[in-house]
Each structure stands twice: as structure tokens, then as C-alpha cells.
Amino acid sequence: MDYRFSPEEEAFRQEFISWLDDNLPEGWDPSRYQNYPRDDELAAAYRAFQKRLFDAGYAGMHYPKEYGGQGRGLVHEVIVMQTLANQCLELRIPGVITFGMAAPTILYCGNEEQKSTYIPRILDGTHIWCQGFSEPNAGSDVVNVSTRAVRDGDHYIVNGQKVWTSYAHLADYCILLVRTDPDAKKHRGLSYLLLDMKLPGVEIRPIKQITGDADFNEVYMEDVRVPVSMRVGEEGDGWRIAITTLMFERVLGDATMAAAYERNIERMTQMASRVRRGGKPVIENPVFRQQLAQAYVEVMVLKYHGLRNLSHQLQGGIPGPEGSIGKLLWSEPNQRITEAALAMQGPGGQVMRGSPWSIQDGFWQYAFLRAKGNTIEAGTSEIQRNIIGERVLGLPKDSSRAARQ
């Protein structure tokens, strides 16, 4: 057993860290929770920074060279992701779906033309992608998708509505789950399209969320003509593609979150030594010391469980439904951690950013609210526990869902 990265890998990490020191955007301030409060500015910063990574040979470490990647394997990608998450998570956010979902789907399931067209543009920051799966009547029950795609020669005519589409307003393309065959069994009638967001008939309406920002949107599609060449896989294969490709990239997500949370623990420790309670630093209070330690424990659980999975995958293991553990290990602890941080601040925890009374620029106020989405996005906690219960432990489906099969 060996939990360490190899000396060569550690050298690569050091090399990348020093590159990053010189290449973060001008004026970047790591102590602020948001360097780009406006998301169009954030998107522009993301694209520019991704281009820099690409030019320096740090984009898509595990993607094949022929598509603009580095062909160096998953470990190097993990090292880059960990470092970025630790130093500048904000700059990665517009690319979460692009890198977490769109790129791997195209790489593992796309045809040659799709791969050579889209992967390089993702890696060099030209394109941002969004994910159009959820609909008003297809949330957890995503096989219920009713957005219709009707074949018309070498096009599909797409009509329908998506909801909660993160960054649709910034995105160039969308991975879109549509129904091509209304008569087939639910999941067999689904297909997977790549949608150009600039096509006529695509309309985006922002949805303001709990944090006050509007990161996600409704996307309406009216007679949108999507070329058949933009379909990934076969017609009717959409569901399989949607669920299988994503598992391969999950280890990256877990590693990224662990690195970001390690940073948050440092932030929390600093905060607790500055914020006072009864005149004394909160860090001297035994209850809050326990909470800080518990937060750290949960981050270590995520980190080392993630590394164990990564190692398994590096040795050729196929990721399966047990990957749902990782989703639970990053989402639920983040809620507890951010709650603990607010508790440490007492009534000061009420102050949002932008006041001399704000604590750490309002980082934890934002983080606390944003964390509430963690157990909903990317499959709710309940759905993850269903997956573990049924597909890992082999427990029976409940009777209503069993009857539907």
C-alpha cells in the first residue's frame, strides 16, 4: 500500500504550482470569495485562464494528444485539478459541466468528428457547455424527459423545455437529453444530442436562486433544427450514455472537492482565531474546537476515500454504482461544515459580504446557502441512497417503482 504520489508526480505538482503562481489572472486575490461577482466577467476570465492552461500544456492531462490533450493519464489530471481547486476554485466553476460531463461523454461515446471538433475547443477554453437533462416533470425521475426530437431528413426538430440548466446563459453548447421515440419503453426512447445554444428557437430565461445569483436557467426550445450528426451514439441510446460515461470522471470530482475543502478548513481555522466570542477567540471555545475538528475529519474521509477510488481506477477497476458514496461524502459534509462556520460567527454570521462587518468577505454566508444545492444537484441524496441500496446492496425496489419496469 502506498498513499503517496510518486516523486515524478510530486515534481509535476511543484512545477504546476509554480507555473500557477505566475499565471493566475492579473489582480487575483485568493482571500476574496468572489473575484468576479459578475458572471459574464467570470466566464471571460475562465476562458482566458483555460487558454493559458492549454498553451502551457496543462489542459486535459488525460485526454489523447490528437484531441489537444496531453496524453499523460489520470493522475496528472488529478494533480492539476487538486491544485486548481485549492488555489482558484472560482475560476473553474464555469467549466464544471464542460469538464465533468460534456468532455468525457464526447470522448468516450462521441464519433471521430465530434471528438476532433469539440474536445480541442473545450480544452482551450473556447467553448463552455451546459447540461440540459432536468425538466419540470423530469427531475430525479429523469427518464421522464419529454422534450421531443422528431427526425426531419438529416435534422431533428426539437421542442420542449429544460430547467435548472446551470450556466446556460454563458454556454456555447448543451448536452441535451431528448425523447426520440415516445412509444418505446421510457428509457429506450431517449437520445443524446449536442445542441448549439445559438441556434434559432433556443431561448434562455434566468432563474434567481437562494444565493441571490442567477447561475441556472430555464431553456425553451421551439422548432430548433439540430443536425443528426450532433447525436451521440445511436438513437435510443441516450439513457445509457447519460449514466455510464459520468462515472469515469467521478474520481476527479471527488479529488477536486476534497482539495477545495482542505482550503476551506484553513479558512475556517483562520476565521476561528480572529472572530471573538465573550471577548476570546472562538478557537479557544471547546465546542467550536470540536466542530472544527469534525469538519476536518469529514474532509479527510472524502479525501482518502477519493484517493482509494482513484487508485482502484488507475489499476484498471471499472467504476460502478459505489461511486455514489463520493457524491454523498462531498455534499452532506459541506452542509455541516458551512453550518459550523456560521455557528462560530454567532450573530455576526448574519452579515453578508460588502460591509466592514462582513467576516472573510462573506465567504461562509454564500457557502452556507450554496451548499444547500449540493444534496440536490447531480442526483439528490435520496437518489444516491437508492442507488447504493438497490445496485450495491441488492435491496429490492419499492413496489411502485418495481411495477414500472
Partner: protein, 373 residues
């Protein structure tokens, strides 16, 4: 990076599982739970024959010189079978304390016999006012003649009633000192406590002016902290291995029952309230195993993170075991509350492990100290 058990470790694990299934079935556990001594010489002898008492003892002292992770694999299986008896205290506490603190001569005298299973030892650390705090040692060691006189009381000493020697931390004029006290010493009185977990007996040990010579000093006055800490860290990780194994079994018992118990015309595992409980057990057991392996590996290979890893593991794995065992009882319904079902042995062991070697509050305080000073 290579985070998985190797072929040897997998073989050790399979061998241990077979052994405990055949040799220490639940009838044995039940009998020993009620038994004053708490194990049979026959089982003890067989475990020693398999080399388990020798695993982590250096080859220079007739041990096998293996790593903590190798031993953890056996301890995981022991936890799974709630094996009763003084194996853990002998190997991790008595043996561990001696190996970390003893001189070459002391190790030569004791470790080969311990490796062979001929003698047993334990650690007499806790004092009545310490609570869950491992750092609180006040028992006095007065220098007298060439040696020392020990006066005071140690509590919650595992398996002292069947130990041949005790490793005893006490305060001399120059600070924390570790002594090796043989159980025949005059002035020493051992009495068992009626504890919840009968599979690991705890004792009160009274030192009524116990005289020990210079040769009984394992770590000189003021030098006791470092070796004690190293031994404790390894023992904490060992206990985590038991927790993971025990919780794994509790989870399996609950999940199997959820498949076969029918209520309202369906297996109760189809109800999400039950299914999600089982899923949560799985999440916690598997992630605890990841932490366990890290902590075990770190003790032998990453000194800079060894202390943090031991405390993170002890805080997480021990609470995880308690939650999992309690949750399994809920899944089992009335059956789970009965003496007849085996699950209560797991809950009791979980509570014992949680309290032992620094409770979660103690370890979280240590973590906070390492993070923030």
C-alpha cells in the same frame, strides 16, 4: 499510489476469516462473555501458532517484522467476529508499549516470549480522574533506594487479570516515566469491573507501594511521552480496524435481514426508511475503511502525518461503528433488541472501542490542536 491490500494481506485476511468462523463462533463469544477469564488457552495457543502474536514484533526479537497494516487485516477480522480475549491488549498495548519504549535487553527478555504467545501484557494508563483524556497521568513514582515505588490507582485496564506484565506510565520527579511491572509484584491488586462489553474485560489495578528496580524502567523519567504516544497511535489504529470489521458485519446482518423480512407484503428493504439506513451504513463502513488504511499506512510510512491520521481515524471509525451497530438494531426490530440475536455484542464492543484509547472528544481536541495550536 497503490491503495489496496496486496496478495499476502488478502491471504492473511481470508485465513483469519476462516479461522474465526471455525474456531470462535458466536457460541464461543457468548460463553466467554460470561466467563471470568474471557478466553480459552486452546484458542490462544492456536492464534499464537498462526503467528499473529508475532506479526509486528521485529525479527531481532523472534517476531515477523510485519507492518501495522498486516496486523490491521487480522484485527479487522477479529472485530467482525467480536473475538473475545486479550489478543489486542497483549499485541498492541503490552507488546506495543514494550517495543516502543524498552531497551534492547528488556525487549530480548520479553518480546520473544510474547511473540510465541507464552506471556501476555497490557497497558495501565487511565486514572480515575482522567475521563476520556489520555494525557492525564498523575500516579506518582517515588525514587527510593536504587529503584522506584509506585503508589496509586489505574482503571479500565484491559485484560490485566490475565496479563503477565503491565506497562505503567507514572510521574517521577523528572517527568513521565514508563515502567514494566510484572503481575506477581507485591502490593499489586487487580480486580475486574462489571463492564458492558464482556468480550474485553476491564480491570482496576491498585498499586499499594509497589517497589520496582531500575531494570523495570522502560522509558527514563521525562522520556515517557514519545514512546507512549507512538504505541498509543498504533493501538488506536488497531482499534479502528476492529471497528471497521465489526461494522461491516453489522451492516451485512442488517442488509440480509432487510431482504428476507416481509412486512406489508414486501421485504422491508424495499422501504426507503430501511434501504437508506442500509445505504448509509455502507457509505460509512467503506469510507471508514479508506481512513483506516491511510492511518495504518501512515504509522509506518509517513511520520509527519501519523499523529493526525490516528486521531482522525479513531474519531471517525469508532463513532461510525456505534452508529452502524445501533442502526442495524433498528433494522432488526424486536429481534435486534433480544439477547438471543448476536447484534448486541457489536453495539457493546462499539461502545467499548469508542471509549478506549481516547474517546472521540479527546481525539477531536487533538485534531483541533494540530490544526490551530
Amino acid at each position: 499510489m497503490d491503495i489496496k491490500l496486496n496478495d499476502d494481506q488478502l491471504e492473511i485476511s481470508r485465513q483469519a476469516r476462516r479461522f474465526f468462523e471455525n474456531e470462535t463462533p458466536m457460541e464461543y463469544v457468548r460463553a466467554m462473555f460470561e466467563d471470568e477469564k474471557g478466553f480459552t488457552d486452546e484458542i490462544w495457543g492456536k492464534m499464537a501458532e498462526l503467528g499473529w502474536t508475532a506479526m509486528c514484533i521485529p525479527e531481532a526479537y523472534d517476531g515477523l517484522g510485519l507492518e501495522l497494516l498486516d496486523l490491521a487485516v487480522v484485527l479487522e477480522e477479529m472485530g467482525r467476529a467480536v473475538v473475545p480475549g486479550p489478543f489486542f491488549s497483549t499485541v498492541m498495548l503490552g507488546g506495543g508499549g514494550l517495543a516502543e519504549a524498552g531497551s534492547d535487553a528488556q525487549k530480548k527478555e520479553f518480546l520473544p516470549r510474547l511473540a510465541a504467545g507464552e506471556i501476555r501484557g497490557t497497558l495501565a494508563l487511565h486514572e480515575p480522574d482522567a475521563g476520556g483524556d489520555l494525557d492525564y497521568v498523575r500516579m506518582e513514582a517515588k525514587a527510593e533506594g536504587g529503584g522506584f515505588v509506585l503508589e496509586g490507582t489505574k482503571v479500565f485496564v484491559p485484560d490485566a487479570h490475565v496479563s503477565d506484565f503491565l506497562v505503567v506510565p507514572a510521574l517521577a520527579k523528572d517527568g513521565l516515566t514508563l515502567f514494566l511491572v510484572e503481575s506477581g509484584a507485591s502490593g499489586l491488586a487487580v480486580s475486574p469491573l462489571p463492564t458492558m462489553d464482556g468480550t474485553r474485560k476491564l480491570c482496576v489495578v491498585e498499586f499499594g507501594g509497589v517497589e520496582v528496580g531500575r531494570d523495570a524502567v522502560l522509558a527514563a523519567p521525562g522520556q515517557g511521552n514519545a514512546p507512549l504516544d507512538r504505541a498509543l497511535r498504533r493501538a488506536q489504529v488497531g482499534l479502528c480496524a476492529e471497528c471497521v470489521g465489526g461494522a461491516q458485519k453489522a451492516m451485512e446482518v442488517a442488509t440480509e435481514y432487510a431482504q428476507v423480512r416481509i412486512q406489508f407484503d414486501q421485504p422491508i428493504g424495499a422501504f426507503q426508511a430501511i434501504k437508506h439506513r442500509c445505504a448509509q451504513m455502507y457509505v460509512e463502513v467503506e469510507s471508514a475503511r479508506s481512513i483506516l488504511y491511510w492511518a495504518a499506512w501512515a504509522q509506518d510510512h509517513a511520520e509527519e502525518e501519523a499523529a493526525m491520521a490516528a486521531s482522525v481515524a479513531k474519531a471517525y471509525c469508532s463513532e461510525m461503528f456505534t452508529r452502524t451497530a445501533a442502526s442495524a438494531i433498528q433494522v432488526l426490530g424486536g429481534t435486534g433488541f433480544s439477547w438471543e440475536h448476536d447484534i448486541h455484542f457489536y453495539l457493546k464492543r462499539a461502545k467499548a472501542n469508542e471509549a478506549a484509547l481516547g474517546d472521540p472528544v479527546y481525539h477531536r481536541e487533538r485534531i483541533a490542536g494540530l490544526l490551530a495550536g
